[in-house]
Amino acid sequence: MKKPVLGASTLAAPKPQKNWDWRAASNFIAGGAGGALLFFASIGGFEPAPTRMAILLALILIGCGLTCVWFEIGRPLRAMNVYRHIATSWMTREAFVALAVFATGGLAWLLLQPLLAWLAGAAGLAFLYSQARILAANKGIPAWRHPRSVPLMVATGLAEGAGFLSGVAFLSGATIGFWQAAVLLALIAIRALIWNGYLAGLTVEGAPESALRVLNGIASRLTLFGHVLPGFAVLAALAGMPGRGALMFAAGSMVVASGWFLKYTLVRRAAFTQGLAVVRIPVRGGGPAGPAVKPGWKPVPGAKAG
C-alpha cells in the first residue's frame, strides 16, 4: 500500500517566527498609520485645530509603536546603538527618520507653519517606507521578503493614514471635501489591488504552505470589511447622502481596523520561516540520489530521483 511522505522532521519545516511579538507588530501597525497620517495632515488643507489634532495623533501613534519596540529588544539600555549602520540597515534608517519626524512634527504642531508641516509630512512618508523595507529585508521570512510586500505595507499605511484623517475631521467638526473623500476611495482601491497582487505573487512564486493558508484565510474578511464596505461608504458620501461626515468616519474606521488586522496577520501569524531544504538526497549504498526535499512547501516541480 502506498503511503504519503513519512513526515519529514518538523524541525526542518517552516515555523512561526517567535522573536517579534505584539510589541514589534505594534510598531508596524501604529507607526505606519502614524507616518501616513502625518503626511496627509500636512497636505490635507484643514483648519488649524483638526490639523493640529492630526499631527498630534500621528506623533502619538509613531511614539507608541517605537516605545513598544523598545520594550521588546533584549538590551534596551543599548538602544542608541541602533544608529550605527545607516549604510544598509533599514532599522537604522527608520531610527534616523524618527528623529526627523519628531523634530519637524513637533515644531509643526507648535507653529503650524506650512513648510514645517510639509517637512513633517515628508518625514512621515519616509518613516512608512522605512518600515516597509525593514520587513522586506528579512530573507528568512518568505511572506515578508516578497517584493510586493513593500507596496502592500506602503499602500495600507497610506489608506490607514487617510482613514485616520477622516476620523479626526469628523470628530473635530471639520468639513470633508470632495478631494479628501476621493483620495480615501482611491487608496482603498489601490490597497485592494496591491493586496490581491501580493497574494497572487506569493502563491505563484512560492511560500510556506502554512503562510499561504493564513493569508488566504483572511482574504474574504479583508475584502469585505477593508475594501467593499468602506468603499461603498465613501461612494455614498461622495454621492451626497446625508451624514457625510459619519459615513467618512465609518469608512475610515473600517480602513484603519482592516489595515491593522492585515499588518498583525502579516507580522505575527503569516510570518513563517523559510525552513530547511535538501537539494539532493545523498547517494547511500548502491542506490541513486533522491529528489529535492523542502518540508512545508509544495513539492518541487519536476524533481526526480537519480
Binding site: 550605527r84 544598509t88 525552513g275 538526497i281
Partner: protein, 215 residues
C-alpha cells in the same frame, strides 16, 4: 584572501549528534540552544523511503543578510569569511534572526537551567551574562581560527585550530578549510564531488557545502 568554508558529506553522516554535543561543550550554549543541530529527515513514499541526516548551523554566508539588516554593526563579515557577532554592541532587536533563512540564530532573554530551577556546577561556571538578550549563533569556533592566524597552523588540518564539530565527527563527514586555496582539503574534496549549498537561490552565498555524490 582566505574564505573558510565547511563541507558536509551527507553520504557519510550517520546522525550520531556528536557534533551537536561537541559544539555544546565547546561553546557552553544556554539550555535549549544548539548552535549546531543534525536533523533526521524521513522522506519518500513506501517502499522508496529515504533517511537523510542534515547537519545545520550558521552558513557563514558570503553575502549575509543578517549583516546588512543589523542596525548596530554587531554582526560583521570578517575578511576570512566568518560571520561574527559582537555581543557588546548587539541590542537584541532580532532583525538578524528574521533575516537568516537558515534558522541559525537565537536570542535568550533570561537564563534557564537544564534541570529546572537548580543550576548545575558546569552551568554556573560557564554562564556568560554577556550572551543574555543578544543574538547568538555558530561562530565556526572563531577563537581557534584566530589562533591559527596567529600561529601559522591550518584550520581543517591541525585539530587545535579546527572547529569542534569537525574534530568530533566520527565518520569524517565534516571538513573545514580555505576554499580560495586550490590545494586545501575542502577545495580538493569539492572538486571530486557533487554538492549543493542550501537556499542558494536567495543569493546568500552560504559557506557550507553539502556533498551528495561523486563527480
Amino acid at each position: 584572501m582566505k574564505r573558510y568554508v565547511m563541507t558536509i558529506d551527507l553520504r557519510r553522516c550517520v546522525g550520531c549528534q556528536t557534533c551537536t554535543a561537541a559544539c555544546k561543550s565547546a561553546n557552553a550554549t544556554p539550555s535549549g540552544i544548539q548552535w549546531r543541530r543534525v536533523l533526521d529527515l524521513e522522506t519518500g513514499e513506501f517502499p522508496d523511503v529515504r533517511r537523510t541526516f542534515l547537519p545545520v548551523a550558521c552558513m557563514h554566508c558570503g553575502d549575509p543578510p543578517c549583516e546588512s539588516v543589523c542596525p548596530t554593526k554587531a554582526t560583521t563579515k570578517r575578511a576570512d569569511g566568518l560571520v561574527a557577532i559582537d555581543y557588546e554592541l548587539c541590542i537584541g532587536c532580532a532583525n538578524c534572526v528574521m533575516a537568516c533563512p537558515y534558522d541559525a540564530r537565537s536570542i535568550v532573554h533570561e537564563q534557564h537551567f537544564a534541570y529546572g530551577e537548580s543550576q548545575m556546577t558546569s552551568e554556573a561556571k560557564r554562564f556568560d551574562p554577556g550572551r543574555i538578550g543578544v543574538s547568538m549563533k555558530c561562530t565556526f569556533c572563531k577563537d581557534r581560527i584566530d589562533e591559527a592566524a596567529a600561529t601559522g597552523r591550518t584550520p581543517g588540518v591541525d585539530p587545535e585550530v579546527t572547529p569542534a564539530c569537525v574534530n568530533s565527527c566520527i565518520s569524517g563527514a565534516m571538513g573545514f578549510g580555505d576554499i580560495n586555496d586550490p590545494q586545501s582539503n575542502v577545495s580538493q574534496l569539492l572538486a571530486q564531488t557533487q554538492h549543493f549549498r542550501m537556499h542558494e537561490e536567495l543569493g546568500t552565498e552560504p559557506g557550507v557545502y553539502y556533498i551528495w555524490n561523486q563527480s
